[in-house]
Symmetry: C2
Amino acid sequence: MNIIIDAMGGDLAPAEPVRGALRAHKELGCDITLVGREEDIRKVLADDKTDLPEGVTIVNATEVVEICDDPARVCLRKKDSSMSVGLRMVRDGKGDAFISAGSTGALLSGATLIVRRIPGIKRAAVAPVVPTGAGSAVLIDAGANAECTAEYMLQFAFMGSFYAEKVLGRENPRVGLINIGAEPSKGSELYKEVYALLKQAGDAGRINFVGNVEPTSLASSDAVDVLVADGFVGNIVLKTMEGTANFIVQGLKDLFMTNTKTKVGYLMIKGDMGGFKKMLDSRETGGTAFLGVQAPVIKAHGNSDAFAFFNAVKQAIQFVSAGVEQEIIENMDHMVIPSQAAQE
Amino acid sequence: MNIIIDAMGGDLAPAEPVRGALRAHKELGCDITLVGREEDIRKVLADDKTDLPEGVTIVNATEVVEICDDPARVCLRKKDSSMSVGLRMVRDGKGDAFISAGSTGALLSGATLIVRRIPGIKRAAVAPVVPTGAGSAVLIDAGANAECTAEYMLQFAFMGSFYAEKVLGRENPRVGLINIGAEPSKGSELYKEVYALLKQAGDAGRINFVGNVEPTSLASSDAVDVLVADGFVGNIVLKTMEGTANFIVQGLKDLFMTNTKTKVGYLMIKGDMGGFKKMLDSRETGGTAFLGVQAPVIKAHGNSDAFAFFNAVKQAIQFVSAGVEQEIIENMDHMVIPSQAAQE
């Protein structure tokens, strides 16, 4: 297996993607292709006094996708950017998956334009794994599509379910629709329509739809495996989780620093904080999968360090092995709404 | 001032609303009218060996709004319910504000049908005060309207701004639009349209619009005073905050109970946890204001205890003194979109 990594993407590029790639190669045994400015990549190796091991190759790409570039077009305009080159490689089968910590918008439009959607899929979606009381859940769509139809969201539900089953290893994954109340009548017109479609798919035994899910229940130990939302709402959920977590952790830090007694108390707890920190650490889950395109593409967090890249490679290997794309293709008949399909 | 309290609303009725009302009467010096089954209310007083003090009166209402009642119609159908009677009293000026911990949906439709909207206001909104890194912010709309137009949201922004200024005492309150990115081009068509309207109102000096706000920034110490959203997204934000907070607090409890050392550490910190707990305690902020109706109506949390009712009365007094309704009426010209107003 060969995992392609954008060596120029993210706040800590190229050093951290290169270091994470080397660790992944060593510990996980996969081949790695580093795409980016060869000179910059070799400088990281020289700084770290490391040789390029067998199984790790560099593909030179002279351009870099910058934050100021128009995300919708940059992958076509900067044809020799590391992102563009990497996406073409995974499209052409010169690697099994592509990982980038670069601009989400650029990567998403690049993946759609270059790797292309699976025929029948109306929109690709981003599907991060978020922490819940039950461990974790796939949140789909978490921000790729600010404006959705019911059919897009039906497809998100199927794709999220396949990902939870094949990549996260959940048996008969429980699929919930994010909503403002539990009853089928709750929410906007769009959400009522999606509820009806998911109910139908559930009744037919195609997905395990458990109904509407209010985000208050994220902490619950029987939280679902897949959280379905339109990209606007999914992104708001993701960002509210992050904002609230930061807020509470800050409050906790202030609490620990209140006085000598609390400082001592903190020191006594500190050594066992591993699990608590891990629960909130986005680096643990690797990156965010893009679902609905023809090859595995993973967006690593913008501030990914070597450990986060290492975990993203681990996730990419599972993603490739799972054959999620094949599962989507085989079930396409159940993922389109005939009337809407006819209009396309 | 006379605050009307629904003695039958909420999980802990009638005991806790009655106890909270008596404490508020004693400590805050306002008159209180308790609406509900007189027999049940008098039983609470007898159990507590308390006499009805001067300034606290009981208005008998024989019916109770139940969770199974259709929220859209119950206040008209059960005319002698405590909620319906209380809303008619505040409409008729027999009290200055109404507080209920009963069904949100029933209270909202009851308030709209009985107290009625301020002329020109298209939809009433719920506006809880949520904790942020800067202290707190008004979130409007937090769930009354799952489907919104840009004009509704323009009105939410004005109403939230008046509430933040007059009730929370914020000078020139900073108004932000909840969105999935900071740039004006971010979000759905609706949010782009609302952005343009709020920008215009900001440029004209009518509100202090600071732009789009991503919920990741809730923890920030320069968080805004007013968070504007449609009712679906606002409700999702509120519930995600609650779910995430519960999740982390549970993780924290597990951490403290890990072993003897962490338990001792916890005991050393425990005494200073007041501020941290207070930060997350919804009872502290009283209830949720309904904005856009002709008299102050406050929804207390369903599980409100006496302390929460006491705080809701405190909030009601501020709400009445602030004259938010008058402020809305005086600014109505700036809160309607001419083309849309013509269509009404």
